[in-house]
């Protein structure tokens, strides 16, 4: 059992070597978070003491590599309160959702329906459009409320008996709105549909108990939750994984191969064809172990205090409009905004001159941008290592950028 230590914001930030760089205010964690020393050390330790392929050779290095890889799987499963063999390593959220679209989706019939929302990341939109075009399924769109949240009141008329899957973001990468999952699960269960959540943005901001959420699929990426790039996880209920055909064929996903046929390996390896991102998975395991040491109520309070500071400051910048929820209820510390007469890329470029790293653009959510009538927004995405100075640097730079660009 891991005992959570009281959260010390400065001490936590000090664990991220890159953030020691003078004058850097990193507010682009929604794109990629930084890695703490504990994760960096775990990756280097693996590469220098245990590097070998997994689930193949019998030599000691290979056994150590397999132990580290499967150990990471156990740590991740424990963090999410699910079984080890329900954790499929992928290359990231996009790959996880594509796996479901190909494997679960290809089993659907023409006329079957999948519900997504207007504010999905392209990763949870394009694979379903592709499935629609392959199989003639019907893609239905859940609308948004005026404050940029999912309009759960529209579930009743959107989810019909032909619905087979509701695939939604757990937290928006644009507006920061967190999805209220229970009504979604209830609507799905009422018609026998499954629920998939894109957890990429939600997991960096606290543990998620998948058993309690009662969804069917959950996809996320390591690099957004303080782990290495190149690895992610698809979690699914074991019965679903067992019923689904493999997505990719190749080494490691088989039990036997003859000239006539192939018998698949058991789950989860059935879905892990080829050499997986081993060191990266080990790094993700270390990230999860590190996350377990944190006192999350205190971390959340810290993140929300900074979010309020940011929202208050944005309210003082003339012509600025926050896109999405303007309060702290049901949100992650991701804030998008629009400044009259100033393009997001120009704002981000000028802010870079102040050492502030932001993202501007459509955030891989073009249907949402079209709905909002915007080409893009400027986004500040915070993580637990941010501090008051980061927010203040952003606000100071924004004043200057707005003056320069108008």
């Amino acid at each position: 059992m891991t005992v959570a230590m009281p959260f010390d914001a400065a001490a936590t930030r000090a664990q991220f070597p890159l953030l020691a760089r003078s004058g850097l205010h990193y507010l682009d964690s929604g794109a990629t978070s930084q890695m703490p020393q504990a994760v960096l050390d775990a990756v280097v330790r693996f590469e220098t003491t245990s590097r070998a392929n997994v689930l193949r050779s019998v030599h000691r290095l290979a056994e150590a590599a397999t132990d580290a890889y499967e150990g990471a799987r156990r740590d991740i499963a424990g963090y999410l309160n699910v079984a080890d063999d329900e954790i499929v390593f992928t290359s990231g959220t996009t790959a996880g959702i594509n796996l479901v679209a190909r494997s679960f989706g290809d089993g659907l019939q023409p006329g079957d329906e999948i519900v997504v929302s207007l504010m999905e990341h392209h990763a949870n939109f394009v694979p379903w459009q592709m499935l629609r075009d392959r199989h003639g399924i019907v893609l239905k769109i859940l609308p948004l409320t005026g404050d940029g949240r999912l309009d759960l009141g529209a579930l009743a008329r959107t989810v019909t008996p032909r619905c087979r899957l509701i695939a939604l973001t757990h937290a928006s990468n644009v507006t920061g709105a967190v999805t209220d999952v229970a009504p979604v699960v209830a609507a799905a269960r009422a018609v026998g549909a499954k629920v998939l959540l894109d957890g990429a943005q939600r997991l960096p901001h606290g543990p998620v108990d998948l058993k309690a959420l009662d969804v069917d699929f959950y996809a996320f990426s390591s690099h957004k939750m303080f782990g290495p790039t190149g690895v992610g996880v698809l979690w699914a209920r074991k019965a679903l994984l067992e019923a689904m055909p493999p997505f990719l064929g190749g080494g490691e996903m088989i039990r036997t191969v003859t000239l006539e046929r192939t018998i698949w390996a058991d789950v989860p390896h059935k879905f892990e064809a080829g050499t997986p991102p081993i060191a990266q998975a080990v790094g993700l395991g270390a990230a999860v172990r590190w996350l377990r040491t944190l006192d999350w109520p205190s971390v959340s309070a810290h993140e929300m205090r900074l979010t309020q500071r940011l929202l208050d400051g944005l309210g003082q910048v003339k012509g600025t409009r926050v896109v999405g929820p303007t309060g702290l209820q049901g949100r992650i510390p991701v804030v998008s905004f629009d400044i009259d007469g100033a393009h997001p890329h120009d704002i981000c470029q000028i802010l870079d001159g102040y050492g502030v790293a932001l993202r501007g653009g459509h955030h891989c959510a073009q249907p949402l941008m079209d709905h909002l009538g915007l080409a893009g927004t400027t986004r500040a995405s915070l993580a637990l290592y941010n501090n008051d100075a980061d927010i203040d640097a952003l606000l100071k730079g924004l004043d200057a950028a707005a003056m320069r660009l108008r």
Binding site: P344, A375, R404
Partner: protein, 139 residues
């Protein structure tokens, strides 16, 4: 430092918006998107006696994209399609740190963009639209 991008010459072009607005009866039109940021330009042109008589554009984009479209609208009038097409190569030369060739010497204002690779497409987007519109006018 990013400030060099927003120097007076570029901002004057961006805010001056020369050529902003659609043409009523263009010879050709092209709409081009920048998939990275979602910016979009629609460029109309009219040809008369083998030269460009008018250019209009609607830009949903950043200051660099606006400035680039304005430079096109100011410089391309009276040019043959071949001379106008040379503008894109001239801009690419500027983005490699070389001088802008006549009749596109105004593109020299984009010299600071050379250091910001992620912004090269912002200034190239209007030239892509110009190329597509000219190709369409030929057919």
């Amino acid at each position: 430092m990013s400030d060099d991008l927003y120097q007076q010459a570029i901002m004057e072009r961006a805010k001056g918006r020369v050529g902003a607005g659609r043409l009523a009866n263009p010879t050709a039109s092209a709409t081009v998107d920048n998939p990275l940021c979602g910016d979009r330009i629609t460029l109309d042109l009219s040809l008369s006696n083998g030269t460009i008589a008018a250019i209009g554009h609607h830009v949903r984009g950043c200051a660099l994209c606006q400035a680039s479209a304005a430079v096109i609208a100011a410089a391309a009038i009276g040019q043959t399609p071949d001379d106008a097409l040379a503008g894109r190569n001239s801009l690419k030369s500027v983005l490699k740190g070389e001088a802008a060739a006549a009749p596109w010497t105004d593109l020299g204002i984009f010299a600071p963009v050379q250091r910001h690779k992620s912004r090269h497409d912002c200034v190239l987007l209007p030239f892509e639209a110009l190329s597509q519109a000219l190709a369409q006018a030929k057919t």
